[in-house]
Structures are given as structure tokens and as C-alpha cells.
Symmetry: C2
Amino acid sequence: MSARSGVPTATIKFYLREKLLPPGERVSATQAAYGEDHLRRLRLVRALIQVGRMPVATAREVLAAVDDESLDQHSRLGVATWALPGPAPVQGEERDEESLETARRDVGALLERLGWYECEPGTPAYDTLVEAVAALVRLGYPCDIPHLARYAHAAADVAETDLELLRGLENATEQVEAGVALTVLYEPVLLSLRRLAQAEESSRRFGTPPRERPAP
Amino acid sequence: MSARSGVPTATIKFYLREKLLPPGERVSATQAAYGEDHLRRLRLVRALIQVGRMPVATAREVLAAVDDESLDQHSRLGVATWALPGPAPVQGEERDEESLETARRDVGALLERLGWYECEPGTPAYDTLVEAVAALVRLGYPCDIPHLARYAHAAADVAETDLELLRGLENATEQVEAGVALTVLYEPVLLSLRRLAQAEESSRRFGTPPRERPAP
């Protein structure tokens, strides 16, 4: 498994010990056989721990949700991504009830306007959104509902692409595993693309003089 | 200043000592006067340090770029956002030259296809993008150029909204300050909106049976 995945043997043993990977099929006193399912699970564990920097205990919770076959696929994906740590929650030191109240009202109005009824207060993504909007309100930066709705439409395009990427996969478990991994792995991709796009947009609006561009 | 901003006096004194805020105009032996510029700067410092969790030294670099009036506005905004820490860089432990090489080629081809010529290798956003794509390549998750281009188009919509939010502001310094703050403050907003949008999209594709929805 180490040779096929490029992951050091010691790391794989650690994952086995921590029950992040199921044991292989024992073929002798000292050897076990690992199949495609193990390799697929291994790369999900790498995505969560190495790229997503998740503590082992959190990764274990996410994997338990991935494996819960009592749920339908939408719920498995939902529960597994809920178990992911939220996107950098805002520090609490200066939260104040007033800006939180405004943010709760704005987020409610936004989701109403979008017709997004899947997410309710108490889920990590919802609560992080409220905290993040409250920070904007508290500091007095713009975050009116029409602009938030524009961001939400861009997010919907992203989510559509996210789910598109799962289409070629064979079965529900594979799709749920990849759905979780891609949620984590694409976060730095999306944030860097935003910064690159800002540079393009800023150049268009404020750049002087325009640099010569190669013909398309 | 503490009363108007809600920031404790001790915190403001710390920022003054660390030269994150310029000194006020001295009006007596123990009192100084602070104007609108100070308040605006204070909220930028809060955005960087409290929400963006930036070390003081990094915040000081960002502010130096914001204040560099020798640059045109596009460059000021560019230099200031370059000084922002990249979006969670990928851990290096298992970077390998092969996947990095593939990622460099793919990112180059992507930006060529988009006609984005503002960003070059060596800038933080570009390098983070390469590292993040390399992680996808290494783990064998899908990240072909057509899908990356779809994410990039969504990022362009986001960047357009980002810059729209600056339009109402009075002068170049104010715009640069807000541009930097909004880059940081909207990251958790965008990532949470993506998770909420995924829940909607996943419900549409995999949810059974559809829940009853209120009429729009």
C-alpha cells in the first residue's frame, strides 16, 4: 500500500492504529492485503489530515459519517461535511449580541431570498456565516443583502461544479468520500483564484497605463 | 476612540505601541485627539488581526503597502494583498516534484486560457494555487483544466463584487484599506456560502423524497 500510494509505511501504520483505515485482510502472520477501497480511504485520510489539517479525532468523526450506510446519499454527504471543521470561525473575544442579531436577521433574509431551505441555524456552515457577517457589521464594512446574494450565486456555481466532479464516480460511498475530500482540497484553490481574479479586476479598474497584452 | 469603536483602551494602546496605528495629535500632556482616519485604520487593524489572525509583524507589512503613496492604486492594492498571508498553504511534508510540475503546467495553461496575465509565479496567490492543485494531483482527485476554469469564472464574479463594494468610498487610501479588509473578512463568508450551496445542490441531485417547499 505504501508503494502504491507514496505514503510512508510508518504513517499508514499510524492510521491503522488510530482506526482511520480499516485493517487489511490477513494473509500471513506478518502480512495483510489491502485493496482498492483501502487506497481510496487512504487518500481521503491524507486529504483531511495533511491538507485540511484536521485533528485525528475530527477525521474519525467525518469518516464515521461517510460510512453510515443507514442514511441516504444526500444525508451522508451532509452529515460528513457538517463534521468538517467550519471555514476558520471568527474569534469570539469581541462578539457582541447586537451585531450577531443583525447578522442573524440578514442571513435569514438572504437564504429566504435565495430559496435555500436546506440549511438551518445550528449547522456549522450557517453559524460560521452568521459570525462572519457579524464581524463585517461590527467593523462597519459593507455587507448588504444584494451583495451577499451575488456572492451566494457565485457559491452556487462553485457547488454545481463540485457536484459535477462526483458524477463519474462509481458508487455512493465513493461519491461521498470524494465529496468530502474535494470540499476540503478545493478551499485553497478557490481562495487563490479569487485573489488572482481580484488582481485582474483591479488592473482593469485602476491600472494605468494598461500593459500590452498578447493577442488572444 | 475606544468609546466610538468599542475596542478596549488597552488594545488601542497596544496597537499604538506596535505602530499599527499612527499617534494621535497631542492636545495635552496626557491626552491625544484621534480623527476619522484613525478610526478607519483601527477597524482595518481589527480585521487583519482579530478576524484574519495575522501576526503583528505581518499586519505591519500589509499596512506599509496600504500607505505607500508612491504606487498607483492598482499596485497599492496588489502589494497590500500580496502581503496578506496566502489562503492556508498546503503542508509541505509530502510535496513531490512530479505533482508540482504537473500543477505548474496546468495552472499556466489555465491562466493562459483565461487571459489572466496579471499574476505570475512567485506571487503568494499563484504559488498557493500551484500547491493546492499539486495536492489534488498527488492524491488522484479530479482537477482538469475545464473544471478549474469553471471555478475561475465563479472567482471572477466574486472579484467583481469585491471591487464593486469599494466604489462608494471616497479616496484611494480608503479604497485600498477596504479592499484589503474585505479580502480577509469575506473569506469565511464565501466558504460558508459554498457549503450551504452544496447542501442545496446535493439535495437537488440526491435528496429523496423532496421536502415540501413554500411557494416562492
